[in-house]
Amino acid sequence: MTRLTSLLPAQAQRLAELECPDFTTRPWVTGPALAQRRVTIVSSAGLVVRGENPFRGRDPDYRAIPSDTKPDELLISHISINFDRTGFQEDRNVVFPLDRLNELAADGVIGSVARTHYSFMGATDPVEMELHARELAGRLKQDQVDAVILSPV
């Protein structure tokens, strides 16, 4: 469990106090009911498709993960070693719940699943990710995405 009491005191304190930009705006975007939404996953696990370059340290950019990526093609290249990877090894949905999204779409609970999903490397300074994140928003709009589920590790 990631209750802070289950972590080392120093690690718990570092994670709890991790610096986040002091934003001056509080954006809030509304939209249609879930059954009409097009959903994409944006992970911060440093996910890459096998054969592509893994994240090098704290690269601030992102990688695209097409919806037809096979389970065997997805790798974690996150720099941190202080999180469990055995769950992901057994089942990618622990980190990247694409199969679950496809099922929810098939059941009509969500409208559809985006054509492409994305991953950043979460240990990177968020300020350095900003330009890439804003550029990604343009791509998401092109794919008609109006709902993002952000998945950390």
């Binding site: 991790l18 954006p27 994140a133 993002v148 952000l150 590790v153």
Partner: protein
């Protein structure tokens, strides 16, 4: 993660974040977040439990339909059932490869040990149809040799253009861990991450070799080597247990 949500939302796209560290999320104030009581690395909970995972993702997505915000932070109520140890699980046997006196160093023991895991890893592949080994793009035996050469103090050059030798070392170590932990989880047992980690760090030559790498890094005058080997080889929780 919360910052990414902020940027995307400012650009007009609705987001909901899974939160693993609640105080961090409270501090970052994303538009919407679902805190989950799972260990780091498992944002959607237990592996191979589609019903549970679906409850998590749906609880998160439902926050997109809230009319009042920001900030919305809700808690997922249930713990990960796979966080519990499986008393019936048995790890693969890796007899310390020192009996015949030919493999006494940590590096030699590592190289002798890898082939012993092949049967278990083949079973893993047959069972799951996938592996997460592959960051270094080297066959696992070559990963072992590359890591062993570092342990021997040889500082081998990078086999891959555009990637430093130290970066390849980090990828090779990640590949070794993935290979071992997949091999250890082959079969019908449902070991917890703690059980798998205890086996890897306490009983395998690979674990001992990686601990040796960390010590080499910490003793190095090269600040980059010290940082990479010191921080990205042995998990902080293991370092604490060993000291």
């Amino acid at each position: 993660m919360s910052a990414l949500g902020h940027y995307l939302e400012e650009e007009g796209i609705a987001t909901v974040a899974i939160s693993l560290i609640r105080p961090q999320t409270e501090n970052a104030k994303p538009p919407r977040a679902l805190w989950v009581p799972f260990e780091l690395g498992r944002p959607f909970g237990p592996p191979n439990d589609p019903a549970f995972q679906k409850r998590v993702i749906l609880a998160a997505l439902r926050l997109l339909e809230r009319e009042i915000g920001p900030v919305v932070i809700e808690d997922f109520p249930d713990d990960d059932p796979r966080a519990q140890p499986d008393p019936a699980w048995r790890p693969p046997q890796v007899p310390m490869a020192t009996a015949d006196g030919t493999a006494e160093t940590p590096a030699a023991r590592l190289e002798a040990e890898i082939p012993m895991l092949q049967g278990a890893h083949d079973r893993w592949l047959a069972q799951h149809g996938r592996t997460t080994v592959g960051l270094s793009a080297m066959p696992i035996v070559d990963c072992g040799r590359y890591v062993a050469d570092w342990v021997r103090g040889k500082a081998p050059s990078s086999p891959r253009e555009g990637f430093s030798a130290v970066l390849i070392l980090r990828f090779a170590v990640d590949d070794l861990k993935a290979y071992y932990l997949e091999a250890a989880a082959a079969g019908s047992g449902k070991p917890s991450s703690r059980q798998l980690g205890d086996w890897f760090w306490n009983e395998t030559a690979a674990g001992a070799a990686i601990v040796a790498l960390r010590a080499i890094g910490l003793a190095s005058a090269d600040e980059r080597l010290k940082a990479v080997l010191g921080n990205f080889m042995v998990p902080a929780a293991r370092v604490a247990m060993m000291s």
